[in-house]
Each structure stands twice: as structure tokens, then as C-alpha cells.
């Protein structure tokens, strides 16, 4: 029974491999491949492009912020290391454009004041319900960690922004619903937010829809992982350090073990071994052992 062990295993593996491949052919939904972009923040040395982050913030502020909150971010984050790195003066100026509710004051009243860098980003709506009601029943998700909350991350967001198309003939769309190639079910309640020239860049970068989408995607990735750059830097150092340490430890281990391995066998032990082996092979022709 089961003499050819390898054949047996291989047969099982092939059997399941065929099952897998055929099963995925008819039970999985058709997946559209996302647009793959060579992002500067990918890979173990990935860093953000500062200018792109600054432009991305501008896009967020002018295009997205009307509906999408970013409640985990504070204005001060915009000047912090590894981010868009606006100067402190610039951040103060940015923050002061927004009105924030504060209070209660000594009279017990809430009041509005200009935002400071330490404040969280001003929200477009006071709560989720208000935001849902104002957007045709679909809540525009908070964008603080959006890039981490979607399968495909940056590629998904970029693809979605670029994925608005005419619905194929026969595809039913209600009012206020749009066709998007990359959205699950292809129906999305957000109208195409990005188009050529929708923002004006002060640094002279061209304002194609694709460039604008890239900038805002970069900004969203930073927003969801603000320490990404130090994460990559520290990771590289830590792993190099550990590899060196591992080499040294492995060499010490070999050295320590050689002490044991080279311990001279006592004559008694050698004899024991011989005796055991001889008993084992007793009566057999030594020539049959290769």
C-alpha cells in the first residue's frame, strides 16, 4: 500500500490544484484589475513626494472636503516631518481659514473661532446622519484612514477616481447614481469628482485628471499612515542590524557547539557504538551495505 510516497502526494496536490483553478473560474465574481501605479511611497525605501503631498492637500481641500471629513487629522500634522511639511506659518494661515466651535465660555455659551494648528480638521457636516442626508443617502466616508480601509489601497483609490465611464448599454442607473468601473457593483453615488483642470496648481504642475488624482491619492496615503517614512527608515536599520547580529550569533553558536562535537569519545562509548552496530548487522553479508 502506498509504496510510491511521492507519487501519492503529488497526485493529491494535483487533484486539489485542479479543483482550485476550476473552482475559481466559475464561482468568483469577475474582478477588474486595478490600475497599477509606481508610487514613490511603495517599497522598503518608499518616501512621499512633498510637492505632491502639498498639491494633494490642496485637492482634498478644494474638491473632497466639501463632503468628506478627515477627523483624525489636525492642522499641525501638515507641518510635521514626513508629511507635506508646510512651514509653521503656512499651517497657521491654513488653519485660520476655518471656523471651529469651541466652548463653553465663562457664560456657558458655545462660540465659533478661527482654527489653530492644534485643532482637528474642520468637518463638513456635524455628524454622520447629516452628512448622509445631504448626500442622497450615501455617507461620504471619513478619509483619515481611507487608504488602509480599502482592498488595493492607493491603487484602488486612484483607479476609482479614474474609473468613471459611460454605463454599458442595458445597465440600469437611477438618478444620482454613476457608473464606475472599479466600484463594487459598478454603482457609485459620488459623481466624478476629478476632471482636467478642476484645481489650479501654483507650482505650475499640469492639471490633468490623472495628475490631480495621483496627488490626492498620495495625500490620502500619507493621511492614513503619517509615520510611513520613519517606519521605512527604522525598518531598514532594524533589519540590517538584526542580520549582522544573526551572523555573529550563528558563528558563536557554531563555535560553542564545536566544543561539544569535538569532545573525544571515550573508548567505552566508541566500543558501545561498535558493539551496537555489529549486533545490528550480525549474520548479514557486509558487502550488501553500501
Amino acid at each position: 500500500m502506498l509504496v510510491h510516497s511521492n507519487n501519492f502526494l503529488i497526485k493529491i496536490i494535483i487533484f486539489f490544484f485542479i479543483l482550485f483553478t476550476t473552482s475559481s473560474a466559475f464561482s468568483e465574481e469577475k474582478k477588474v484589475d486595478l490600475i497599477k501605479t509606481n508610487w514613490s511611497f511603495n517599497g522598503i525605501f518608499g518616501t512621499f513626494d512633498r510637492a505632491s503631498l502639498q498639491r494633494g492637500y490642496q485637492v482634498y481641500q478644494e474638491v473632497c472636503a466639501g463632503c468628506h471629513s478627515m477627523q483624525q487629522l489636525s492642522y499641525r500634522n501638515l507641518s510635521e516631518e514626513g508629511g507635506p511639511e508646510f512651514s509653521i506659518e503656512e499651517v497657521k494661515a491654513i488653519a485660520s481659514q476655518f471656523e471651529i466651535e469651541d466652548g463653553p465660555n465663562s457664560d456657558g455659551e458655545m462660540f465659533m473661532r478661527a482654527a489653530r494648528p492644534s485643532d482637528k480638521f474642520a468637518k463638513p457636516y456635524p455628524n454622520i446622519e447629516a452628512s448622509t442626508a445631504a448626500n442622497g443617502g450615501a455617507y461620504p466616508p471619513d478619509m483619515s484612514v481611507l487608504a488602509k480601509a480599502r482592498v488595493g489601497g492607493a491603487d484602488y483609490i486612484y483607479s476609482l477616481l479614474m474609473g468613471y465611464e459611460e454605463a454599458p448599454p442595458g445597465f440600469e442607473l437611477d438618478d444620482g447614481v454613476y457608473y464606475n468601473k472599479y466600484m463594487a457593483g459598478n454603482k457609485i453615488k459620488m459623481s466624478a469628482p476629478i476632471s482636467d483642470g478642476i484645481v489650479e496648481y501654483s507650482d505650475g504642475t499640469q492639471t490633468s485628471a490623472s495628475q490631480i488624482s495621483k496627488d490626492v491619492t498620495t495625500f490620502l496615503v500619507w493621511a492614513s499612515e503619517p509615520h510611513l517614512e520613519s517606519q521605512h527608515r527604522m525598518g531598514f536599520k532594524a533589519i540590517i542590524y538584526l542580520i549582522i547580529l544573526l551572523t555573529l550569533v550563528y558563528m558563536s553558536k557554531q563555535k560553542v557547539w564545536s566544543r561539544f562535537n569535538s569532545k573525544k569519545e571515550s573508548e567505552e562509548e566508541t566500543f558501545d557504538k561498535v558493539e551496537r552496530t555489529v549486533t545490528k548487522y550480525e549474520g548479514e553479508d557486509p558487502k550488501t551495505f553500501k
Binding site: 473552482s23 561539544f260 561498535v274
Partner: protein, 428 residues
């Protein structure tokens, strides 16, 4: 290596050790004899201890910043990620640490299955190990609820709802577990409390696990007993310590690679969406390390049946020392068992894959087949195999297999010829 009574050198140490034998204990740990042929699969015990301690330390720091309240939990995690100094590092180590902990524990368990480490006289070590594993799953599950993302909430809802399948009292038990009529703030609070408690229970059990190990000593790849106080064993320190550290460093490199370069690869993106009881995610999936059991749960057509089979899949392992009737420990000498061992490994991985897929069509059929095989393996195959399998001859000692290598017999004849003509009894 010696078993004789240890006496500390200084008078003071003797005075102390006779009152609390900590020095004797540390001497025992240092000199604990380990078989010299232990391979790198035996380093996972140390790796797991490292994982537990890492989880406890990082968890301690996270607990200083985390807020266990449905309105603040999600935001407090983001606060840790953004504003706490190196909070992102601590949280990513903790989150990925859970995955690495399970990776190591699965290797540790399968090593035990391959080399028959659960067999007499090590049944108690095995059972304590399984209790640790169950506690780990409970702890990890509750830990996954704490960030209060969509998968946290819906995972908690699905798993706690399982208890409602118990006839008559199921509904009351579920309500009691929740502390209300749905997963809500009381649930989050008690999960936090238990998530903090269970690791310390686990730690206690780890001590028992090691204690029980030190009674019979380690199994080894050959699976036959070693002679203590012989050339077949080496003291734990420095030999095994050095080997364990070497393996641990390789493990930490892989661990940190995830932490720094793919910290969210093992999690679900939906958990970065704050929990919303009104929106159900399209697929509710647990963390990867629970998927095989999730697949078994869904493979059974009835809810109660699924729950029974899922728990049975874990508890059946407790009976393993008695289900496996073979007296030979190591799969090296069990040609048929060895093949089925790999079939089992494959089945468990397959179940894990199926647990992540929707329970329909071919996936459901495969889950049922795999579930059937899982139980067949333990309940039928192992008892029968132990009786009828023709095992390969066992060597007399762990040193012998080396001599079985091609060409060694000739070498032997050379060694033997040295002694030719001498009186055997003169060798003492």
C-alpha cells in the same frame, strides 16, 4: 547535566537556597539535559515564550492609551497611531505579534504531531499546550474586537451568536455574554478586561507546560528515549540557548519585516472602518489563524452541528495521545503515517483557504470533504494505523542513525579492526 544535588558555593547562597531553592531552580534550568539531535523545529518553544512576553509588554503600553468605549475605541487607536511616541510601532508589533504567535504555535503543534511528542509519557505537556492554544484563540479573538472596526464588531457578533445554538439556554447565554441584547459597550468592556487577564493565565500555564516538560525531558527527532547523563544529551545552556537565539533572530527578522513593510497585510481592510451596527460587511471573516475552524463551522449544514464540530475539532486533539495507538513516536520510522501527516497539513491549510471564501458552490463541497478528512484522520486513521502499520526498525540510540549513512559500515569495520583480538571485557 548531572542530577546530583546542587549546593550553592557561598554560605549566604546556601542559607537562601535552603529556604527558597531559586538557585537550585536556575541551576536545573541551566544544566537541563537536552538531546543533542534536536533540530531547528525544536526552537519554537523559546520563540513562543518570546512572543507571549512581547505581546504582554506591548499590550501593557497600548492599554495606557486605549479607551474601551464604543464612542472612543476606534479614535483612541488612531490616537496611538498618530500622536503617541512610537505608538504606531507598538501597535503594529502587537497586532502582527498575534499573527506571528499563531504562526509559531502552528509550527510547534505540527512538529509535535510529526515527531509524536504528545505520546506517553508526555500527554500532560500536550494537553496543557492545547489549553494554552485555546486561551490564545480566545485572547486573540477578543483583542481583535478592541479596535472597534467593522470586522471587530461583526466578528464578535458572529462568534458570540454561536452560543445561541445551544438548545434551550443558548439565547440566555448569548445575552449574558453580551451584557445586553447585542454586541455593545458592555461587550467591549468585558472583552477588554478578559483580554488583559487571559495572557497572564497563559503565562502561568506556560510555566506548567515547561515544568511538565522537564519531568520526562525533551522528545527528539528519532523519538526514542535518550540516556540521561550520557554523551547523548547536552546541557541547555549554552548549547540550546545559542541555538534558540539563532532561530529566534531569524523569526524576529520575518516578524519585523511585516511590522515595518507590510503591517496591514495580515489584517482586514474593513477593520479601518469604524464599527457600524447598521452596515454588514459583504464577507465577515475572522483573522487568518482562526479560518480552518471557521471553515468547519460553515461546512456543517446545521448551526448547532457546526458549533459542535468546530469545538470538537479542537477538543479531539486532547484525545490524540490515546487515539494514536502506535508505540513508535517519530514519523521518520512510520512510512504510512508520514504521508498522512502531510495530507493533514494540507487539509488544514485547505480549510484555512476555504474559511476565507464564501460558503457556496465548490468551496462548500471542498470544506465538507476537508472537514470529513480532518475527523477521519484522528478518529479512524490513527487508531487503525497504529495497529497495522509496519514501522521501520528503530535504532538503539539517537547516535545510531548517523551510522546508517552510506559508507559508515566500512568505517565501522575499520574501527572494529582496531579492537580485533583484544579482550572485550577489558573495555570499561
Amino acid at each position: 547535566m548531572s542530577e546530583e544535588k546542587y549546593i550553592p558555593k557561598s554560605k549566604l547562597a546556601q542559607w537562601f537556597d535552603s529556604r527558597l531553592p531559586l538557585l537550585t531552580l536556575s541551576h536545573h534550568l541551566k544544566e537541563y539535559p537536552t538531546p543533542k539531535n534536536l533540530n531547528y523545529w525544536w526552537t519554537f518553544g523559546g520563540i513562543l515564550t518570546f512572543c507571549l512576553i512581547t505581546q504582554i509588554i506591548t499590550g501593557l503600553v497600548l492599554a495606557m492609551h486605549y479607551v474601551a468605549h464604543v464612542d472612543h475605541a476606534f479614535d483612541s487607536i488612531e490616537h496611538i497611531m498618530r500622536n503617541v511616541n512610537y505608538g504606531w510601532l507598538i501597535r503594529y508589533v502587537h497586532a502582527n505579534g498575534a499573527s506571528m504567535f499563531f504562526l509559531a504555535v502552528y509550527i510547534h503543534i505540527f512538529r509535535s504531531l510529526f515527531y509524536g511528542s504528545y505520546k506517553s509519557p508526555r500527554e500532560v505537556i500536550w494537553i496543557i499546550g492545547l489549553i494554552i492554544y485555546i486561551l490564545m484563540m480566545a485572547t486573540a479573538f477578543m483583542g481583535y474586537v478592541l479596535p472597534w472596526g467593522q470586522m471587530s464588531f461583526w466578528g464578535a457578533t458572529v462568534i458570540t451568536n454561536l452560543f445561541s445554538a445551544i438548545p434551550f439556554i443558548g439565547e440566555s447565554i448569548t445575552t449574558w455574554l453580551w451584557g445586553g441584547y447585542s454586541v455593545d459597550n458592555p461587550t467591549l468592556n468585558r472583552f477588554y478586561s478578559l483580554h488583559y487577564l487571559l495572557p497572564f493565565l497563559t503565562f502561568g500555564l506556560v510555566i506548567l507546560h515547561i515544568w511538565a516538560l522537564h519531568v520526562p525531558g525533551n522528545n527528539n527527532p528519532i523519538g526514542i528515549d535518550v540516556k540521561k547523563n550520557s554523551n547523548e544529551t547536552m546541557p541547555f545552556h549554552p548549547y540550546m540557548v545559542m541555538k534558540d537565539i539563532t532561530a529566534l533572530l531569524v523569526f524576529i527578522i520575518i516578524f519585523l519585516w511585516f511590522v515595518f513593510f507590510a503591517p496591514n497585510a495580515l489584517g482586514h481592510p474593513d477593520n479601518y472602518i469604524e464599527a457600524n451596527p447598521l452596515v454588514t460587511p459583504s464577507h465577515i471573516v475572522p483573522e487568518w489563524y482562526l479560518l480552518p475552524f471557521y471553515a468547519i463551522l460553515r461546512a456543517i449544514p446545521s448551526k448547532l452541528g457546526g458549533v459542535i464540530f468546530m469545538f470538537a475539532a479542537i477538543f479531539i486533539l486532547m484525545l490524540l495521545p490515546w487515539l494514536d495507538t502506535s508505540k513508535v513516536r517519530s514519523a521518520i520510522f512510520r512510512p504510512i503515517y508520514k504521508k498522512f501527516f502531510w495530507v493533514l497539513v494540507f487539509t488544514v491549510i485547505l480549510l484555512g483557504y476555504l474559511g476565507a471564501k464564501p460558503p457556496e458552490g465548490i468551496y462548500l463541497i471542498l470544506s465538507r470533504l476537508a472537514t470529513f478528512y480532518y475527523f477521519f484522520h484522528f478518529l479512524i486513521l490513527l487508531p487503525v494505523l497504529g495497529r497495522y502499520e509496519k514501522t521501520d526498525p528503530l535504532p538503539m540510540s539517537i547516535s545510531d542513525p548517523v551510522l546508517d549513512k552510506p559508507g559508515t559500515f566500512d568505517k565501522f569495520k575499520k574501527v572494529a579492526s582496531k579492537y580485533e583480538g583484544e579482550n572485550v571485557s577489558s573495555f570499561k
